[in-house]
Amino acid sequence: MSEVATAATTAPLVAGSAPARRPALYGAAAIGALLFAWWLATAIPGFVPSRVLPSPLDVVARFAALIAEPFSGATLFGHALVSLQRWGIGVLLAIGLGLPLGVALAWLPPLRAVVTPAFELLRYIPPFAWVPIAVLWFGASTTTQAAIVFIAAFPACIINTQLAVSQIDPILVRAARTLGAGWATSLARVVLPVAAPTIFTGLRIAFSNGWMALVGAELVVGKQGLGFLISQGQINDSAATILVGMTTIGVLGTLIDLVLQRVQRIALPWKTAIARPLE
């Protein structure tokens, strides 16, 4: 039974293997069908006005144009880079603070008692509700955008780290102690590696929350970024620009997730090791 479960979870990791290829094929077919339906809707004269929904080919042409020449202050790459930079700063900050604090909350019950109520209260203020106060504090700057990313990404980092660390069997830490390990060694060689899968799950949520919050914030504040690009598309009555921006946002978000999954696989060989019969 466990053998089967392990095989099922590790199957997609084996690049190009038969069971992994088929779902990928279905997925590609679904995206293809979607694109075809879109094209069909725009190809029938008078069915959908191109002002409302431009054809996929118009969007591709707009995509090429946005890559070649600046629109609203930057090329598509420029806007994407600005967004990625803001996202990166916010997310790194969320990890840098969330991981150590998560460990501290798991290991220090008094700290948990002090911090948890305030944290829970703050957690239910949506990231967007912080935009006005962030603008007041930091102006329409990278700092403001990064702060919104941080606010969106931080809870998933800290909550999952705390959960992961508090779920570790204390007997492992005891075993490490009897072998001479101090708390720092126990943390580095036992606690964090064992907690890592759950922490990675938290990072995935944090990364996507941060990305979504950023685009939202860029719609309202700032002079660059993908969110800004699509708001400019609306002002200029260019549905194609909006669709290029939306697609780029979706594709970059997916790529971020794929990169993280790849990192997780490399970082946690023991989680992905295929159970092979040894006895």
Binding site: D169, R189, E279
Partner: protein
């Protein structure tokens, strides 16, 4: 001669609702160098508590743990522990698990490798050196745990019901292997079990505990030159002297169970 480890006047009381509960009355127990001492007793007699205190993982309410006549201090590699639930580090391979204590002690790389290789050989783990714990059977996992505890050359090895989570066949094999290692290499061991047969088969001395609260009831020596030494456990169990010792211990424990 100073014993290798001495448990001197160790007791443990827990604070519960509206008062204190004595888990362990003051206990005295000495383990000589090269001696294999087993503690047996009914569930709830405090033998695991005694073990955790001996390991330095729990503080006694009174009393001291001495190693070579000096206070043992906090937990550390002079007293390593083999736990019932193996407690292997899941993110490390077999070889990395075994090397853990040596790396913590910053033993030179070449020596670490040599000592790990020696343990892998000794415990029959050589072909599993790069496997992760979850890829191994329970018996193999416990071999890794024993190797990991022995490789640091502890003053005393503490084994807390190490075969309690294994199936009957695997348990028998490991009992015979530990017995063989002990006869060849003369480790100093404090062993905890609820199996009387296991206690007699492995030990030089069996300590019987009683419960409510836990205390040491009797110590029974098992001669090192008994006729059944070196035999497989099945066969050893048919010897009259083995059965005699086993019955004697079992009567002591039965009285405890019936009393409550």
């Amino acid at each position: 001669m100073t014993p290798k480890m001495e448990i001197r006047g160790v007791s443990k009381t827990f604070h519960a609702r509206g008062g204190t509960v004595a888990a362990l009355e003051p206990c005295d127990l000495a383990v000589a160098a090269g001696e294999f001492v087993t503690v047996v007793g009914p569930s709830g007699c405090g033998k695991s508590t005694l073990m955790m205190i001996a390991a330095g993982l729990e503080a006694p309410s009174t009393g001291d743990i001495l190693v070579d006549g000096k206070p043992a201090g906090p937990a550390g590699p002079r007293r390593t522990v083999v736990f019932q639930r193996f407690a292997l580090f899941p993110s490390e391979t077999v070889a990395e698990n075994i090397a853990f204590g040596l790396r913590v002690a910053q033993v030179a790389r070449a020596e670490t490798e040599a000592r790990v290789a020696e343990q892998l050989e000794l415990m029959g783990l050589a072909r599993f050196r790069d496997a992760y714990p979850h890829e191994l059977s329970g018996g193999m996992q416990q071999r890794v745990a024993i190797a990991r505890a022995l490789v640091v050359r502890p003053d005393i090895l503490l084994m807390d019901e190490p075969f309690g989570a294994l199936d009957a066949q695997t348990r028998t094999v490991l009992q015979e292997e530990v017995s063989r290692l002990q006869r060849e290499l003369h480790y100093t061991v404090l062993f905890i079990t609820h199996s009387v047969e296991e206690a007699v088969y492995l030990s030089d001395r069996v300590v019987v505990m009683s419960k409510g609260p836990g205390r040491i009831k009797r110590e029974i020596a098992v001669p090192r030159d008994a006729a059944w030494r070196g035999l497989e456990i099945e066969e050893a169990g048919t010897h009259a002297s083995f059965m005699q010792t086993k019955r004697e211990i079992w009567e002591l424990i039965r009285a405890e169970i019936v009393r409550h």
